[in-house]
């Protein structure tokens, strides 16, 4: 286990450096002058020159990149070109908001997804199974933002049950998190179903049943517990992808999260915000991956069954 962890940690660094480098190069290649966006329409050539110098944009690209890395090593993410605020402040403002949404989406996909998957598997080929499977397939096919707009229209406007948009307490989170969770829930349901069915035909289940355990116990204790491992892994990884994938949901629901911040920053050539934001999301992704792997290594059913 220790060797595994060390090996994995040693792979972090190249990924982190790769991410910053690729993001940096992408932004460097994007046409448009950040200085002009900072300065606005009324900027004089002298002003642009001064701003470029101020932001270090007049240096060759490798120097700009190494300056960025050097600052990063010292924990400095730089300042936003546009808002002048430190990037770290912006990230600390936004990331928890997206995390709230992602977490809520995870809760929905876990509860609804697993339940639907179990029902589907237990009642295989029944009406419910077909319904759930079809709903799940539809769930993976529907564009998130379209679902979001529809939810806003029906629950927010027509029925007036929920806030249409904006950042706020629990009630504000319901619609965006449903939209965000839609396709993940569908995937979890489908995955639970197949994983459940696979475990179900394994020997230990037959043994458990042969021992005269009640069917309910067999399902919930023996089958579900083992079938859940791949499902939980996927849910864990989903948390990472939801963090970065929330741009559309955030845009539709005016949710002030990290996705929409990075999106706007790309359009506005706010290089430090894009770099910091992407790096942040990548770190989240890598760390969650790592945790999931450890979890998997610890709880592999084969290991347990052998013991």
């Amino acid at each position: 286990m220790a060797r595994f962890i060390i090996k994995r940690l040693s792979q972090f660094l190249p990924v982190i450096i790769g991410i910053t480098f690729i993001t940096f190069m992408l932004l460097y290649l994007v046409p448009g002058d950040p200085a002009r966006i900072v300065a606005g329409r009324n900027a004089t050539p002298e002003m642009l020159k001064a701003i470029r110098h101020d932001l270090g944009l007049d240096l060759p690209w490798y120097q700009q990149y190494f300056n960025y890395l050097w600052k990063l090593i010292h924990g400095d993410f730089g300042n936003s070109y546009r808002f002048r605020r430190p990037v770290i402040d912006i990230l600390l403002d936004d990331a928890p908001k997206t995390a709230r949404l992602a977490f809520m989406a995870i809760v929905i996909e876990t509860i609804i997804g697993i339940l639907a998957g179990v029902i589907s598997a237990v009642k295989k080929y029944s009406f419910w199974d077909t319904l759930i499977t079809l709903a799940a397939l539809a769930g993976t096919s529907i564009p998130i933002y379209w679902l979001g707009i529809m939810l806003q229209y029906f629950f927010g406007l027509k029925l007036g049950l929920l806030p249409i948009s904006g950042y706020g307490g629990f009630s504000y989170m319901i619609l965006p998190s449903i939209a965000l969770a839609s396709s993940s829930t569908a995937l979890v349901a489908l995955m639970t179903r197949s994983s459940f069915l696979e475990v179900y035909q394994q020997d230990f289940v037959t043994t458990a049943r042969a021992k005269g355990l009640p069917e309910r116990r067999v399902i919930f204790v023996h089958v579900l517990r083992n079938a859940m491992i791949p499902v939980i892994t996927v849910i864990g990884l989903d948390l990472a992808s939801l963090m970065g994938g929330a741009i559309l949901t955030e845009t539709v629901f005016s949710w002030p999260g990290i996705g929409s911040t990075i999106f706007q920053a790309i359009l506005m050539r706010d290089v430090p915000v894009v770099l910091g934001g992407t790096l942040f999301l990548a770190i989240v992704f890598v760390v969650i991956n790592f945790i999931v792997d450890i979890f998997y290594a610890l709880f592999d059913p084969r290991i347990r069954l052998e013991a």
Partner: protein, 299 residues
């Protein structure tokens, strides 16, 4: 990194399970019995037909602006209503299928080609080449997909071809990983080892013995990925950085429709349905092919 280990979980180490390629007829027989797969095939087929015959079946020119017909609700004349500029929504959806089908095919072909080459190289040559390619895969995976696509689109500028490229570029890693996995396990198969011992060249081994093992997962992956590529195009166009207007793209139509959700809901409803049904078609088709080729193949 994470993904390698995860292959076990997601069952991507396909060839390990000794995929036996059944004759095409056998596969087709199995596929025909797969109801959802058939449904997917029919949907995809119909959409391809619609896309190809668009000029013949569309009742109107999708670009023809008629100010006097602005925002007309669905009627016999315009079954899906008209948009702000009086253009027929049905005709625009019919033409929009061309964008989606092309994205589904071309963007996926781009990622498939990149992924196939890099996956083969990584799997076949191993050592440091493999390490570099796999790190690249890791990095690509660690990028939030949509943000990556947005960044590429801002470099290339909006446009039809650029959307293919952007989506193609972000999706290659998946193919690379699957192909590499297949190559790695195929490499250890007895017949490959035998061929090597007989002095067959690397290229020959690759094409004669390893390629067939890769076909199954790649076909299935291509079908499924097409669905996601279509969603991606719609999302980029929705954000205004995808296909250039006035080319009718479903995502673009949705973004146009947002301001009219309360007075012209048909503008939102139909393009959204078109996207969902098309994507669903590709996913069903992918699942069906997979089940037909090898029920144990898990992608």
């Amino acid at each position: 990194m994470a993904q390698q280990e995860l292959e076990v979980i997601e069952g991507m180490d396909v060839a390990e399970k000794k995929v036996a390629i059944t004759p095409t007829r056998e596969i087709w027989k199995r596929f025909r019995r797969h109801r959802m797969g058939m449904a997917g095939l029919i949907i995809v087929f119909l959409i391809v037909v619609v896309a190809m015959l668009a000029p013949f079946i569309a009742p109107y020119d999708p670009l023809e602006v008629k100010f006097e017909d602005s925002l007309k609700s669905p009627s016999l004349k315009h079954p899906f209503g008209t948009d702000l500029l009086g253009r027929d929504v049905l005709s625009r959806i019919i033409y929009g299928s061309r964008v989606s089908i092309q994205v589904g095919v071309i963007a996926v072909a781009i990622s498939l080609i990149i992924g196939l080459i890099l996956g083969l190289v990584a799997g076949f040559f191993g050592s440091w080449i493999d390490v570099i390619i796999m790190r690249l895969v890791d990095i690509t995976y660690a990028f939030p997909f949509l943000l990556f696509a947005i960044a590429i689109m801002t470099i290339l500028g909006p446009g039809f071809i650029n959307v293919f490229i952007a989506i193609g570029i972000i999706n290659w890693a998946w193919f690379a990983r699957v192909v590499r996995g297949s190559v790695l396990s195929a490499r250890e198969q007895e017949y490959v080892l035998a061929a090597r011992a007989l002095g067959a060249s690397s290229t020959r081994i690759m094409f004669k013995h390893i390629m067939p093992n890769i076909v199954a997962p790649v076909i299935v992956g291509a079908a499924l990925n097409s669905g996601y590529a279509i969603l991606a195009e719609a999302a980029l166009s929705f954000l205004g950085i995808g296909v250039q207007p006035p080319d009718p793209s479903w995502g673009l139509m949705l973004s146009d429709a947002r301001s009219y959700i309360s007075n012209a809901p048909w503008m939102t409803l139909y393009p959204g349905l078109a996207i969902s049904i098309t994507v669903l078609g590709f996913i069903l088709l992918g699942n069906g092919i997979r089940d037909a080729i090898d029920p144990r193949l898990k992608i």
